[in-house]
């Protein structure tokens, strides 16, 4: 079983991201479960959503406390919420930012993780460029596909098209595709560093 925890703020499409990820996994014939952290969400408040992916039926209903991957949609949460709680040493971290881990003030902290599993994606900028709104969720899923290889970009874009329609779908697909390429390059550079 592969478990993903997504952190963001109310209004950033955190719950939708988890749902789209589960749809992408479903399209690959896998079992997936997406659920929110069940708060009374308000715009701007910290929000958490979860996704589990497995090859067999998922019965477990507890929150994801030991994630295999973290997607952080809003870097301002880093110093407010214990987002890294329970993350395994070989876990993936993907942060929506134009800055580096060092510039975010967590360079030292993330040194214990596999550098090939650490990614930054300028997802808000990509969303503004392709969708016209600062909703980073779809772009981050494209980045997630590239970073983890757990899901194909095609399944992610299928899930985006199922969730949105028309221009919004197109824009999000473009944002996810560009994020996918961005992360692929980033990982390549990390491997050669």
């Amino acid at each position: 079983m592969f478990q993903i925890r997504i952190h963001g703020r109310g209004g950033q499409g955190v719950v939708t991201a988890a749902e789209m990820l589960s749809v992408a996994a479903f399209k690959e014939g896998r079992h997936a479960q997406a659920f929110p952290s069940f708060g009374s969400e308000r715009t701007g408040a910290p929000v958490v959503a979860f996704c589990r992916i497995d090859d067999r039926e998922i019965r477990l209903r507890e929150p994801v406390m030991q994630p295999d991957a973290l997607i952080i949609q809003d870097p301002t949460l880093l110093h407010q919420v214990d987002v890294f709680s329970g993350l395994a040493k070989d876990g993936y971290i993907m942060i929506n930012t134009t800055r580096t881990f060092d510039a975010l003030g967590i360079g030292e902290f993330v040194r214990k993780f596999d550098p090939a599993h650490l990614c930054t994606v300028p997802a808000t900028e990509l969303a503004l460029k392709h969708v016209g709104r600062p909703l980073p969720n779809a772009a981050l899923l494209g980045g997630f596909a590239a970073a983890t290889g757990r899901i194909s970009l095609a399944s992610v874009t299928d899930a985006i098209r199922e969730t949105f329609s028309g221009k919004v779908a197109q824009g999000n697909v473009a944002a996810a595709s560009e994020a996918f390429e961005h992360v692929r390059k980033e990982i390549g550079e990390a491997a050669h560093a």
């Binding site: 925890r5 988890a18 749902e19 589960s22 749809v23 479903f26 399209k27 079992h31 997936a32 479960q33 997406a34 659920f35 929110p36 952290s37 069940f38 009374s40 408040a45 910290p46 958490v48 998922i58 019965r59 477990l60 209903r61 507890e62 929150p63 406390m65 407010q80 919420v81 214990d82 987002v83 709680s85 329970g86």
Partner: protein, 417 residues
């Protein structure tokens, strides 16, 4: 057809396939997505000959459902928590009149303190209201139970409550197999009411009954529920034959054959319990799970058989009978052949508190060692409780409990789970 959709959406689509004629509801979390989806489906013409009625309260929702059902329409509503309490008088009327309304209860805690999260206090508060109560373990079972509920309710002329865990199921997106319209049509015949308000053949429904026959009317209500116990297993079998799935029935057993210890629970927590039990089995523990699907009528004989040779029973329940302990465990004790002291009550998951494998394994290990108390509150924050108790000992005007305990706890927004 396999779909990856939200539990609420799955239930709404299943209800639509049952060809309801009147849907009346008042929104309340976590039920809202179900009735919103049904409202959209009716408006889009996806449910033929169905009227969606916006009502001003839950009391009105159940009252409209009563009127619709008495007029011979297949009626559906949904609610949760305070909404269920607000309609309570009409809930008793629906069953007392024998009207086969189907209602989803998206299970949620009851205030005060106000809490929107999941537990079973709402449904349990109405356990003796005369409705059939079915509890879903997964979203697949939730949607399947609705199809069975219309069949069961209409055959017996009794209302049916389908209980599904709020948020944990209603807001979870997972795989479901959605049946086709023709499959549902073949399983669920058109509604043929036993009583109907028809101007061509006038009758009155809802007579006042005095001491001369009230007992008899109540006896007949009980007899009907006992009849349900006979019918439900057969219909679940028929459902299995038609849809290829094991959904509904009175109960589900899991690894109980040689079990010394059996965990009894209702609803979505059963999945986490099964995963925990698998881990304990790997360590050599002889432990199994009994999931109660049909809570009312209470399947005494079947529970007695299922608990058979177990030496220890742990009842995990998401509701608290304040001043007594467990509700489900009190029911279990009535049909456990062993020592009643071997039936333990574990109160867990109140107000949305997560029930984790780690906590379950710790508690069940304690049970296997023979050290589990008669009544346990899983993961109770004892220091927090002690501070509140100390405050009350030390000062007369100790203030409101909920506010004080939140101050003691500090900010919770920084916590992940």
């Amino acid at each position: 057809m396999l779909k990856q959709i939200e539990g609420s959406r799955a239930v709404a689509e299943a209800v639509g396939l049952c060809r309801p004629e009147v849907i009346c509801a008042y929104p309340i979390s976590p039920q809202t997505h179900i009735v919103e989806a049904l409202g959209e489906m009716v408006k889009a013409g996806q449910i033929e000959r169905c009227e969606y009625i916006n009502v001003e309260s839950e009391f009105a929702a159940m009252s409209v459902a009563i009127g619709a059902s008495a007029a011979g329409a297949r009626a559906y509503t949904a609610t949760a928590s305070q909404g269920l309490l607000f309609m309570a008088e009409a809930v008793f009327n629906a069953s007392g009149l024998g009207l086969p309304i189907v209602m989803t209860v998206a299970n949620r805690a009851i205030g005060a303190p106000i809490n929107i999260w999941n537990d079973h206090t709402d449904s349990m508060s109405q356990r003796d209201c005369g409705w059939i109560q079915l509890f879903a373990e997964t979203n697949q079972e939730a949607l399947d139970l609705h199809i069975q509920a219309f069949r069961l309710g209409e055959e017996l002329s009794l209302p049916v409550m389908v209980c599904m865990d709020g948020f944990i199921l209603t807001h979870a997106v997972e795989r479901v197999d959605m049946p086709t319209q023709s499959q549902v049509d073949a399983y669920l015949p058109p509604f043929e009411p036993r009583q109907v308000l028809d101007p061509a053949e006038p009758v009155s429904i809802g007579a006042m009954v005095g001491p001369e026959a009230f007992l008899e009317v109540r006896y007949l209500a009980h007899a009907k529920q006992m009849r349900a116990l006979e019918l439900i297993p057969g219909w679940a079998q028929e459902f299995r034959d038609a849809f290829g799935r094991d959904s509904g029935g009175l109960m589900h057993t899991y690894r109980c054959e040689d079990a010394d210890t059996i965990v009894v629970a209702l609803g979505s927590v059963l999945g986490t319990v099964k995963d925990t039990v698998d881990e304990m089995r790997d360590r050599g523990a002889r432990i199994g799970v009994l999931g109660i699907t049909c809570f009312r009528p209470w399947p005494s004989a079947a529970v007695r058989t299922a608990l058979g040779r177990a030496r220890r029973v742990v009842v995990l329940e998401k509701s608290l009978a304040v001043g007594l302990g467990g509700i489900v465990s009190t029911n279990v004790r009535t049909c456990y052949s062993g020592n009643p002291d071997s039936v333990h009550t574990v109160i867990a998951g109140l107000g949305g508190r997560a029930i984790t494998r780690a906590s379950l394994a710790r508690m069940l290990d304690t049970a296997l060692e023979g050290r589990l108390e008669a009544l346990t509150f899983l993961d109770l924050d004892k220091p927090l409780v002690e501070r509140a108790l100390a405050r009350e000992r030390e000062q007369r005007r100790s203030g409101p409990i909920a506010e004080s305990i939140l101050r003691d706890l500090g900010t919770v927004a920084s916590k992940v789970t």
